[in-house]
Symmetry: C2
Subunit: 307 residues, 2 copies
Amino acid sequence: MSLLVVGTVAFDAIETPFGKTDKIVGGAASYIALAASYFTQNMHLVSVIGDDFPQDFLNTLSSQGVNLDGLQIKKGEKSFFWSGKYHNDLNTRDTLDTQLNVLADFKPVVPAAAQECEFLMLGNLVPAVQMSVINQMSKRPKLIVLDTMNFWMDVAMDDLKKTIAMIDVLTINDSEARQLSGEYSLVKAAQKILAMGPKALVIKKGEHGALLFNKDEVFFAPALPLEEVFDPTGAGDSFAGGFIGYLASTRDISFDNMKRAIIYGSAMASFTVERFGTERLIGLKKSNVSERVREFIELVQFDIELN
Amino acid sequence: MSLLVVGTVAFDAIETPFGKTDKIVGGAASYIALAASYFTQNMHLVSVIGDDFPQDFLNTLSSQGVNLDGLQIKKGEKSFFWSGKYHNDLNTRDTLDTQLNVLADFKPVVPAAAQECEFLMLGNLVPAVQMSVINQMSKRPKLIVLDTMNFWMDVAMDDLKKTIAMIDVLTINDSEARQLSGEYSLVKAAQKILAMGPKALVIKKGEHGALLFNKDEVFFAPALPLEEVFDPTGAGDSFAGGFIGYLASTRDISFDNMKRAIIYGSAMASFTVERFGTERLIGLKKSNVSERVREFIELVQFDIELN
């Protein structure tokens, strides 16, 4: 049930219709690790930061059970920084600034203890970098989940396809699924993408929920309708963290268990969007998570008897 | 279990990325009545057409059990005509042409037998016209469902609010719920709209499913992911027809039964979008409907045991 999380640990500056932040902690791996930590405490993180990063947040990760031996801290360099502004509908955003800094020449090094992990979550990164992590594992993990984005489809499609061929579960959003497959229908898109290698595909639709496909089955989970959606940043990564964290904790990678993992992932995402950045993912209780999952059950439960 | 359906019976000319039609049969009440006819055969239709309308379609309605005594046929006049073109994403469309024709001075007259109906479905029309139907009922129906659109919020908001105050269930889409309430959050929007009078609110989200709210509960049903979505025209009306048809056939207006009605409504909508116009709604078998509902159950079913 050991889990290796690879991805960015970074600074974000975010503007939503409800307010704006200065530089706060963000990055895919921050959200993934925090969300997963509510399910498994046997977790390694591989990432890179500058020496400008707050020790407080690293302490938080450690206290949530995340092993930081694979976190490179580059002396005299700055952490990755992203700044963005959400439109009024919160579904679209503009990137205002991207400073790669330490990420420009990031070469992940997986510590020996982490090379044995049974579960591997590859957050959004250059596809070649994601592949280099897979190649460092001492044995093929039981499950490899990969998240990516449209940018890599534009500039590194060949590398991306090679990497996708090596994994088990791909998580992308609906427009990315359409771009990757060239199909408008998500049902057709899913079949084309599954033919590229993965055994399962998760299509994230933000406030409209998520779809899980394998070759023969499909499952849909809604997003929880919330009174306040404050900041969507990190929702997809929190989803991925809850998803793989639950799978790692149960060690069951059947389609039925992936359905449950989707619900737990959706629950973690529903917390994240209630505050700026990672704030809401810190200090949750297990009972908060169960309560949120109960709301999902009530939201979709119906009872029809067919003859 | 008697049902009165009021709304347009009309011609549409539709262009989608997959093809275009000349004038074909459309109109809210056509879709509603056809969809509802798979659940109840005790149905009256109140609408208006010109003498240019195909008798074939009227015969189809009759054979599906729809009483046409309330259908006004205006000699020498033309039926309502709408023409539209869908964008590539099928979620948005431009109206190319609207010819009100007989609809311009439509005054619905509810026949005596239909005034007693226990269930009343008011398809999208001028709010004052919808209200005039309610006022013609000899006794207050057990359930009144009303569909409307953003256009009436722009030009007849006062009349619309007066009409909404008289009904039980309002069906609108997500952007209309936001416009009507002035709230972005659909949870907050729902509470404001329910305070206007209706006991329940259905928010239709097209390919993203539908939400059902009452004051204390919320239910979500996805749309079925389909290989081919051909023409979204009439999906919302088919949904409404399945919804009220199921409620009328069971005579149970509890929240739990409304959940089932939402699933049956979604099933009917999933047929409609597979072909142009009303084509797919004609000649279905009950077993086709059950099979589609079974797909919904499989799509959302998961099993989590919480302690």
